[in-house]
Symmetry: C2
Subunit: 506 residues, 2 copies
């Protein structure tokens, strides 16, 4: 049926279906945003069924045989222009991947996600991992099946990693985390031996409205376009996109701990700048989507850590912040503020961890996931293993499961292979940032004057505009000349924390 | 294919399709709500395409031949229970109606709606009806075609009316509006001859937050369930529903005119109580939907006018309102407040009209619509005709087109036959309210104590729970013993405005 048609006409048909599926997924994202931000409590059940309907219709569209045939035919056409060709290639990859999971299996996975999530909620309520364990075990069994369905060369975990970070493997991550294990403890020990810095100024009463107003100022100066987005409040901060022209962030406000809102706003702002920078002309197509979770995280971490926890950013912003909070901050010098925000301290909760110890949190999850999927670790032993690893790498022990193994929702959602992207993102962030400093003349001076335009444009030019055209490794190579290189992060970290902790020999 | 299957199984299939279409429509409603309330400006274009995709998928679902065959087969089954039977009957009616419009025609209508709407916006901007006229003319031509496609016995306008108010006809409306024309002017003349009342107290500075807080109190006491809904701000107040468990209202705040928020909150609250009272078990099916626009408006008007502009309501609420606004209202007695809120004064804008003159606004639109559809009135002469009718019925003349023929969006949207439901709703409201006073012991005393529970329950029992089971006329007959009866409204109005204007002989 497709054979007699021009490539142009076939490509149009491909675009129609793919973009309609995207419309459904973006409508789902809208419903999901509302659910976290404004939905009244009784709306939950019907919202669930509406989301399920949208998801299944979108899935049907991009797994139909007709769609597959169209992609096959287009993949064989030689007269497509480059952009079209790459979209088709990537969509065909997605299609083949999607087709590997039978509908009945997806249904099973959906139901197990719901069961695991309920069990996780319940076990957090009762602060008892054992309630969650049997459901987690079923989830892991399904994820092993899923890995088998996808297929893999070396390790079943590779197949799952690929969902979130195309091309990432156990081989790659083992290499990276072995460096983490060797090099980060040395830095951490030096920091521990140095005189400690004070961050107690964050723990004061910071009125809600001023916190909010300052966060809006920050987002604006970063380059976030408020005519194509908005910020709202939710329990867990997140970024969501319905198109590059409507990308929303959320944050949370704790009036007694200013750190909570501040870092989440900058972090989500970084994610949002990426989404706002994706090409509108590629709406709904692979080239209009983010490259990977790792690349996404590289954007949020670059803004949060490399920029937002840096001296230049606060040269511009700190006087403004003091104007918002004269009572709380007039006696806190910029230097003390900078040091405090970069305080390094082993802790129990990943999302509150500093730039250095964060990667031990991720390492622990990575080791656990690998072992759970390979079958070397039994879910019933998980809490014990968790606590042992926290003792080993961070020297801390959770007082209970909520502070330990129950802290993250990811596994309940069936997201195995997601955590490593947090560290990958941070390492890519450091590489990109170091490169940006080389490429952009006077970047520090400009940032110190509140001018982030060139940095954003550099990210747009080097990362955002390409969508999924390149993988994370390809982007990193194109921009910095090399793939993932942990040493760049280490150098960045050594240099930074030498300043923060006044360490001369690091 | 359907013949060998049990009725139960077929009904389940019918429910699946119908409710999935409803999921899509409710997702659209959610996207529509966001568009009016929170969406950033650049989101408009992509939101438009997402809405179009959802609408066309929902339309495909309920116009497919398979769906039609299913309904035909089910309609012939004798072993369905009553509820199922009625759902199938109504869905078959909808299906047959939907099938009368070819897809190409719907596409044309959608495009013309967009063109007419743009022209309307533009012509309001330039305050010149002539910009809008040619697009309106095209719209009217399409609406005539639509009437022909639907078919009608007496007047093409009947076919369009039926969209909004099943069973309503020119014959019925001519009768009602002939009474409006005969009887309302007599009342209006008596009011004009009486000493006028003062409503200037509304025009003071009423701070935003207190206005908002009071409106929340009012909605709560009316019985609006905030765990199944919320109030937000939008330019034009509206009610929208994603299920009876998530029904939202919007209002607007004018700090210099308290009337703006007050009446819109109570009005939309009335609409919302109806939607929250629809049976959840019938989600997405005809028996889970509102009976008609007229019945919907009867609920909003009953709460706004019969209750909200009544003495009992304010016996409870006025002391509370004075507490919110001591500076503005401590010198305004409850009696003066009551009279002022019921001030009758011919005016140019429908949405700001009082309970009496409102129906002249609707009458004018009704006469115009009939004549436009029948071809007796040319769109190019519309502005002149409009102004002539305002002079004739209300004695006022718009200074420009924005105050005149350009004030409502309905015709740009292709909504011909919609306006009459505003008056029908008001007349049904009076009939229902008078009946409620008879049925509920001590209703006035209860309302004066802030107890609206019995009234709401009465509406739930008599109107809400039935969904589309009965038409507006059937509901009215079942509840009050007679169909639409303008005299009940006239008696109600005569009695009320005799009090407001101290008229003894009315």
């Amino acid at each position: 049926m497709t054979i007699g048609q021009t490539s142009e006409s076939l490509y149009q048909q491909y675009k129609d279906i793919t973009q309609k599926a995207a419309d459904l997924n973006n409508a789902s994202a809208m419903l999901g945003w509302d659910q976290e931000v404004y939905m009244p409590s009784k709306g939950f059940e019907m919202r669930g069924r509406q989301l399920a309907t949208l998801a299944s219709l979108a899935h049907e569209m991009v797994t139909s045989d007709a769609y597959g045939n169209l992609l096959q035919e287009l993949a064989g056409r030689s007269d497509l222009e480059d952009t079209a060709k790459r979209n088709v290639e990537l969509s065909l990859e997605d299609y083949n991947k999607n087709k590997k999971l039978p509908a009945a299996f997806i249904e099973q996975l959906t139901q197990q996600t719901s069961a695991s999530y309920s069990a996780w909620i319940q076990s957090r309520k009762e602060n008892k991992y054992s309630i969650y364990a049997p459901e987690l075990e079923k989830m892991i069994a399904l994820k092993r099946q899923q890995a088998d369905m996808y297929g893999y060369a070396a390790h079943p975990y590779d197949a799952l990693l690929d969902e979130y970070e195309k091309g990432a493997t156990v081989a790659l991550l083992d290499g990276v985390f072995s460096n983490v294990k060797t090099e980060l403890p040395i830095l951490l020990d030096k920091i521990k031996a140095a005189p400690q810095v004070d961050d107690s100024f964050f723990i004061q009463h910071f009125p809600r409205q001023q916190q909010w107003d300052f966060s809006i100022d920050v987002l604006k100066i970063m380059g976030y376009d408020f005519t194509a987005g908005r910020q709202d409040i939710s329990e867990h901060p997140f970024t969501t996109s319905f198109s590059p022209e409507d990308v929303r962030v959320t944050t949370r406000v704790d009036e007694n701990n200013y750190a909570s809102l501040l870092w989440s706003t900058i972090h989500e702002g970084g994610h949002a700048l990426y989404e706002q920078g994706l090409p509108v002309a590629q709406y709904g197509l692979p080239l209009g989507a983010a490259a990977s979770l790792g690349v996404h995280e590289s954007q949020s971490r670059l803004w949060e850590n490399c920029v937002g926890r840096g001296t230049y950013f606060w040269q511009y912003f700190y006087p403004k912040l003091q104007q918002y909070f004269p009572q709380q901050l007039s006696n806190v010098s910029g230097h003390v503020f900078y040091k405090g925000m970069n305080k390094v301290q082993p802790s129990l909760i990943r999302t509150e961890a500093d730039e250095v110890t964060y990667h031990f949190h991720v390492l622990i999850r990575y080791e656990i996931e690998k072992a759970l999927i390979s079958g070397e670790l039994y879910p019933e032993d998980l809490a014990e293993t968790w606590n042992g690893l926290y003792k080993k790498y961070l020297g801390v022990t959770p007082q209970d499961d909520k502070q330990g193994v129950l802290q993250d929702v990811h596994w309940a959602h069936g997201s195995f292979g997601y955590f490593p992207t947090y560290s990958l993102g941070s390492f890519y962030a450091a590489q990109l940032y170091v490169q940006a400093e080389k490429d952009i003349m006077n970047l520090p001076e400009m940032m110190a004057q509140g001018n982030f335009t060139h940095l954003l444009q550099w990210l747009r030019d080097n990362v955002h505009q390409y969508g999924r055209h390149y993988t994370s490794e390809e982007i990193c190579k194109r921009v910095t000349g090399s793939g993932l290189n942990f040493e760049v992060f280490m150098d960045y970290a050594r240099q930074k924390f030498a300043t923060v902790y006044d360490i001369s020999q690091i």
